[in-house]
């Protein structure tokens, strides 16, 4: 290895004029792939094709209809929907909504198909038509009807009659002609039109399509706002730590090249950018800095002690090649472990960053030193800035080692104990902060109406036409009623409400007949009559399957989080198991899949994390050629993540999707400091035959400042990420920042005291 390191140093200096253009060409060639990068805007991107909950949902969608939705909420400032002008606005928006591209169905208060008995016939008609012509009495009648319909109350209208919803179903065609912008542009235009035309209304816009669009918007926003911030921060750090414009320029080139290479290769590979993988540039920028800094710090150190520039560059490569290679590989392994994730965006993130990190290694070792060999850099000789701070720190740590050791143990135990307070919960609406208008609309919807979290139940009677069986209908009705008794449930959509209403209508609207028909053929024929009366787009095909053997019941809740959704789904399933074992099924829907995703990811990532841990530990042992040091290194490598989890548990408690990849990811990052510290410690022990105390001092003096600077860069980089408006990213950024800070604390205070304690025992 020594030989190779010497040889590479010599090659870099000798062939500098060849390496510089060659590597610039490679960087630009790979970066060319960036033109293939596209943003994915589909909230389902977080699920792999193998995800069983996704498969269940897709089966349900193929049986009924796959729908995304656009949801408007209208709230008159007067607080009363039941005025002619508000009803007119509802009619208008309902009419206009049919024009939204890919819309297949529009449901509102106005086109609600109200049924009533008329003489001996069944009348089915829009609840509201031609609002301006309605008399105050007619409006009162409409209000009374609307607030009495279980289909409408809490779904399309709130109890007070102050907020109403207009729901537009959007069907994405399979032929690739779907452009989400077509839908969102039209939806936003209508939103604006309503605000202009009816200034007395508050208009809110949300729904699955708007959420999808936000998933596409989030990475663009992050890239626009976070990357410049990140860049400024790194620039500042590099300038103050290197105090050289030329070296700063070289470092900037390395991190830019690494980032565009990582992204470019991703483009060539056809990877789609998602809100999670769009973080890759920020993370690559952050990680790529470290390699250059380690190499540059040594170059300057050598030159200050009087070594010639080219010689100093060779020496720096000799000293740093191994630790830089090890840290790059271990970081790459940590990120590659994300391939075990069940969520494709994290696999992409891991792969892009791993490519970026490995290219950072190549540019740092072959390009940056070659550039330094060409640029006229100078340093004042003799000014060997033996860092006083780090000497003091080393003395402090060694002098108080016993007290420090035990306080560190206490700190580790104390913080890690917080893990018990952690609970899994994702609220995918809350992935987005309030800078997204749909988030405000969703919160408003959750406050007044049903909310966006739903559980769909595909209730199978087991035979053709079986949904008309009185026993089936009774079970479904009881099931719906059971849900309505649950405190978190806002609304239940069930066809049994239609059946009861029809039965009443067919008996001259006699309220005593508001109950399920007691004959199967009667139920079937009522339903047939009703369906014959429904207009375009408002049929029951999205509720009843084609052979009338099963119906779809939809339960809506306000934003109760995934833990709440899972709990409700489980209780619902238990109800079915008790009352109708044959009908037992799993609840389905986007909320459900999101509810399982954190759990699934944590399970799948556990394997990935263990493999990463084993591989990285092997690398450490092989590199240090010392099993004991390798094992000792596990503690400062692994504990920071646990401590961060613990602190999170104490202060936040709720963790979601973001944290599933944390262990593997931070492991690869924090290992760097340990590698640098241990390799210097070992060099002191073996090459300089120092005792453990002096070796610790040597390690602090040689790499203390480089560790400090790179940690600052990492804290800065991931700290910037925590400002993302997308919660998965901000949580990941914040957690990683905490982990890195703990890693620094352990490397400076725990690792040295532990080494001295163990080594002196011999």
């Amino acid at each position: 290895m020594q030989k190779i390191e010497n040889w590479i140093g010599a090659v870099v200096v000798k062939y500098r004029w060849f390496l510089i253009p060659c590597l610039i060409f490679i960087a630009l060639l790979s970066a060319n792939g960036m033109r293939f990068l596209e943003f994915s805007n589909d909230s389902r991107m977080f699920f792999s094709k193998e995800n069983p909950q996704l498969q269940a949902l897709e089966a349900l969608e193929r049986t009924y209809t796959k729908v995304e939705n656009v949801l408007y909420l209208l709230a008159p400032k007067s607080g009363n929907i039941f005025e002619a002008k508000s009803l007119e606005a509802i009619e208008f928006i309902t009419e206009q909504s049919w024009q939204i591209p890919f819309s297949s169905r529009v449901d509102s208060l106005s086109n609600y198909q109200h049924t009533k008995a008329f003489e001996d016939d069944l009348m089915v008609a829009d609840l509201i038509s031609n609002a301006p012509s309605l008399s105050p009495q007619e409006i009162l009648d409409i209000k009374e009807i609307a607030l009495a319909q279980p289909m409408l109350l809490n779904s399309m209208i709130d109890k007070k009659g102050s907020v109403t919803a207009i729901n537009i179903n959007i069907i994405k065609p399979d032929d690739g002609s779907y452009e989400i912008e077509d839908v969102t542009t039209a939806a936003l235009k209508l939103d604006q039109l309503m605000k202009d035309k009816y200034p007395f209304l508050d208009v809110y816009l949300t729904g699955g399509v708007m959420i999808d669009a936000a998933f596409g918007e989030a990475p663009e926003r992050d890239i626009r706002s976070l990357i410049p911030l990140m860049f400024a921060l790194l620039l500042f750090l590099i300038v103050i730590s290197l105090r050289s414009i030329l070296a700063t320029t070289a470092t900037l080139l390395v991190i830019i090249f690494s980032t565009i290479t990582g992204l470019g290769l991703a483009g060539w590979m056809g990877i789609l950018l998602t809100p999670a993988s769009a973080n890759a540039p920020v993370i690559i920028l952050t990680l790529a800095v470290a390699d250059s800094i380690h190499i540059l710090v040594t170059i300057f150190h050598q030159m200050r002690s009087g070594t010639a520039r080219h010689k100093a560059i060779q020496e720096s490569i000799r000293v740093n090649l191994q630790p830089v290679l090890i840290t790059s590989v271990s970081t790459a392994i940590g990120f590659l472990a994300m391939n075990f994730s069940d969520a494709p965006p994290f696999r992409d993130l891991g792969n892009i960053v791993a490519m970026g990190v490995m290219s950072a290694f190549i540019y740092s070792v072959f390009f940056m030193p070659a550039l330094m060999a060409v640029l006229p850099i100078r340093v004042k000789q003799g000014e060997t800035e033996k860092s006083k701070a780090f000497t003091l720190l080393a003395d402090f740590v060694i002098g108080r080692r016993t007290a420090i050791f035990w306080s560190m143990i206490a700190l580790i135990l104390l913080t890690s104990s917080g893990i018990s307070k952690i609970h899994l919960n994702d609220e995918f609406i809350k992935y987005f902060d309030h800078s997204y208008p749909f988030r405000i609309a969703s919160d408003f919807s959750a406050e007044h109406l049903a909310g966006l979290e739903i559980i769909d139940w595909d209730l199978d009677s087991g035979e053709e036409g079986g949904i008309n069986d009185p026993e089936y209908l009774r079970t479904v009705e009881n099931f719906a009623n059971w849900f309505r008794e649950q405190p978190e449930v806002r609304h239940v959509y069930t066809i049994t409400d239609i059946m009861k209403r029809l039965n009443q209508n067919m008996h001259g609207d006699d309220p005593d007949w508001y109950r399920l028909p007691e004959q199967r053929d009667l139920a079937a024929q009522y339903l047939l009559l009703y369906e014959m009366n429904l207009p375009f787009g408002l049929d029951l095909n999205n509720r009843i399957n084609i052979d009338k053997s099963s119906t779809r019941m939809t339960v809506s809740m306000p934003n109760i989080g995934t833990a709440g959704v899972l709990d409700l789904e489980r209780r619902g399933r238990e109800w079915l198991m008790t009352h109708s074992p044959d009908m037992t099924t799993y609840g389905s829907g986007l909320s459900i899949i999101f509810s399982y995703i954190s759990e699934r990811n944590i399970h799948s990532m556990l394997k990935g994390s263990i493999i990463a841990l084993v591989l990285i530990s092997f690398i450490m042992i092989a590199a240090l050629r010392d099993i004991k040091l390798g094992i000792i290194s596990l503690i400062p490598n692994l504990m920071p993540a646990f401590m961060a989890f613990g602190v999170w548990g104490i202060f936040v408690g709720q963790v979601g999707l973001a944290v599933s990849v944390m262990i593997a990811m931070t492991l690869g990052i924090v290992v760097d400091d340990t590698v640098h510290f241990l390799s210097k410690y070992q060099r002191a022990r073996k090459e300089h035959k120092m005792n453990p105390e002096d070796s610790v001092r040597y390690a602090f003096n040689t790499v203390g400042s480089a560790i400090w600077i790179t940690t600052l860069a990492l804290v800065g980089g991931f700290g910037v990420l925590s400002f993302s408006g997308f919660q998965i990213n901000s949580h990941m950024g914040l957690m990683t920042t905490i982990t890195i800070i703990f890693a620094l604390i352990l490397d400076f205070f725990f690792l040295p005291t532990l080494l001295i304690k163990l080594e002196n025992k011999k």
Binding site: R62, I546, K548
Partner: protein, 267 residues
């Protein structure tokens, strides 16, 4: 359910009678479209009455199928739309249910449904003619008697479709408020004025469904009827096929076979 049946379907759509063509220089696309529709209608005149059996096969995106068996009777009414009666044999829960419709050239059609479980005839609000017929991809307006007067027309072009030279034209519902469509584009073969294909465009002018008609046979040496009509909904991925068999023409049906009392008598 005759409506489905075709006279109608054939009727509607296009094609100027060949002998019109020489004079067609000054004819507008709208006039030509109407002329074609009228000629198609004229060619089906005089069939009197007929009965047929229909199997309706629904298919969802999952690939699952469901069938309904229906018998239909149709009576030609001179000077107005046809009368038709459909009797549902399966699913068994609706066995014996009968659907009677009087189509009109002008104004809303009239429809009644006889519910055997209730032993009562119920009128249906025919303004809602755009909804799904028995859960299928056909709406009542697709299968109702296609009276020429219910649409306005515009001839587009002539083109070959499945080996037949066809008139291609657009038609627009007169009753815009209650139709589910803004327009239909139809292919009618030039030789026999038979409907080959129809594309249905929804309220936002997007292609919603495509109907293809196959297996035409000639009855009484004059009247063409198809064996198979397939409707595919492009937006939901669902589809419905209608398989027609057992056509019998001029069996002597009369008005008294098509009234409220006759509904209750059907078996």
């Amino acid at each position: 359910m005759n409506p489905l049946a075709v006279k109608t379907l054939i009727v509607s759509f296009l094609c100027a009678p060949l002998f019109f063509i020489p004079a067609a220089h000054s004819e507008t696309a709208e006039e030509k479209g109407l002329a074609i529709a009228m000629e198609a209608d004229r060619r089906d005149e005089g069939f009197g009455d007929y009965t047929a059996d229909m199997m309706m096969i629904l298919k969802n995106k999952q690939g699952k199928e469901s069938k309904r068996a229906i018998r239909s009777k149709t009576l030609e009414v001179t000077g107005d739309g046809d009368k038709s009666l459909s009797i549902f044999d399966t699913p068994k829960d609706v066995k014996g249910t009968a659907f009677l419709s009087f189509s009109h050239k002008v104004g809303d059609d009239e429809q009644w449904l006889y519910l055997p479980a209730l032993k009562r005839v119920k009128r249906i609000n025919s303004r809602n003619k755009s909804g799904s017929f028995m859960g299928s991809e056909f709406a009542y307006e697709d299968i109702a008697s296609q009276e020429v007067e219910k649409y306005t027309y515009k001839h587009l072009r002539e083109e070959e479709f499945q080996g037949e030279l066809c008139f291609v034209g657009e038609s627009y519902p007169v009753d815009k408020k209650n139709s589910g469509y803004t327009k239909r584009i139809s292919w009618l073969d030039k030789a026999e004025y038979r409907l080959q294909k129809v594309e249905f465009y929804d309220r936002k002018q997007s292609l919603l469904k495509t109907l293809t008609v196959e297996g035409y046979q000639k009855y009484l040496d004059t009247y063409w009827r198809a064996d198979t009509m397939s409707m595919v909904n492009h937006q939901t991925g669902k589809s419905t096929r209608l398989l027609w068999t057992n056509y019998k023409f001029q069996i002597g049906l009369s008005d008294k076979d098509f009234n409220a009392t006759s509904l209750k008598r059907v078996r």
